[in-house]
Subunit: 193 residues, 2 copies
């Protein structure tokens, strides 16, 4: 299950990477044993060999992707820590973290996938605690970003800001010519600018 040999480790990781790719393309539902195995160029049974269940595999993929993303966001923060930041820069960073960097030009799809995953989490017991943890880390990061950019917020204000963005996105997604990132950008600028 947990891979004992280096080769096993590599294969296990290849499966996770494949699952991450599928996750980004088609959401939670796209992560299937057969699809992951095909994508990784490994036999079907390897998926059940390295992961006790499909849930395990999905959770590993979500965790891997979430941690990578948060690490990237933290790097962005450190990188820009000492430069002077315009409100626009901060807003874009927040948008990258809340909607995903793929929302910059990838159209509506990546944002939709992201919020499908968010709303789909409570129903999956194996995902719920993980999502809580990742969300917590994300909040810490957002808090730090705002503080270091001269717009400190308390806990309640941060929660409200996040809620405002999430709500704006969800509502923008069901419009006819959806552009959730632009909608969220307007909301954030009005609030922070």
């Amino acid at each position: 299950m947990t891979a004992a040999t280096p080769k096993g480790e590599r294969r296990r990781h290849a499966l996770v990477e494949a699952a991450v790719a599928l996750l980004a393309e088609g959401g939670l539902e796209a992560v299937r044993h057969r699809a992951v195995a095909d994508r990784a160029g490994l036999p079907l049974a390897s998926t059940t060999y390295y992961f006790t269940s499909l849930d395990d595999l999905v959770a590993a993929a979500v965790e891997h992707e979430g941690r990578t993303e948060i690490a990237a966001g933290r790097a962005r923060l450190d990188e820009l820590a000492d430069e002077r930041r315009t409100v626009e820069d901060v807003v874009e960073l927040l948008l990258d973290l809340l909607l995903g960097v793929d929302s910059r030009d990838g159209g509506t799809e990546p944002v939709l996938l992201r919020y499908e995953r968010l709303v789909g989490s409570p129903r999956r017991p194996y995902l719920a605690p993980l999502m809580r943890e990742l969300t917590g880390e994300l909040k810490d990061l957002l808090d730090e970003i705002l503080a270091r950019s001269g717009m400190p917020v308390d806990r309640e204000q941060l929660d409200e800001l996040i809620a405002l963005v999430d709500g704006t996105v969800v509502n923008a997604l069901i419009e006819s010519g959806p552009d959730p990132r632009s909608a969220a950008r307007r909301t954030l600028r009005r609030r922070l600018g």
Copy 2:
């Protein structure tokens, strides 16, 4: 397909009712040919006879339920039109309309189902326009409620208020001891009170 005889009409309607019940219990995914037929006490093939596809059936169920709900909300508005309304009354009415009346005591589940449906709509071409229409009517109703309750809002403020509630709910759903209605209530009271 559209039922020509009175009996056909009745059966068709029975299928829609069954679909609505399944929708309320298990969401969009729970509306299956076999489940609907069983629930309605009708043979499997009746579902494909009265509805060209499963999408048709789901759309009919969503529309039926949405219109019923909006009509109920409008009735509530008319009923309370002339009484004096406390902010609390208005907030509860808004919560009923945005989260569903089932959120009053049904726990987290009905709210989760509602937002799963909302986020799941963009991906289903047959649902997207319908949801847009229902959302539009809901907004009109909310606007009227606020106006008649002495808290008029313009279009932008209303959108922001809705976004705030939706975002609060989505974020409350992934918490450990979720109580989305209470969270949304706090948000609304802070905003309206």
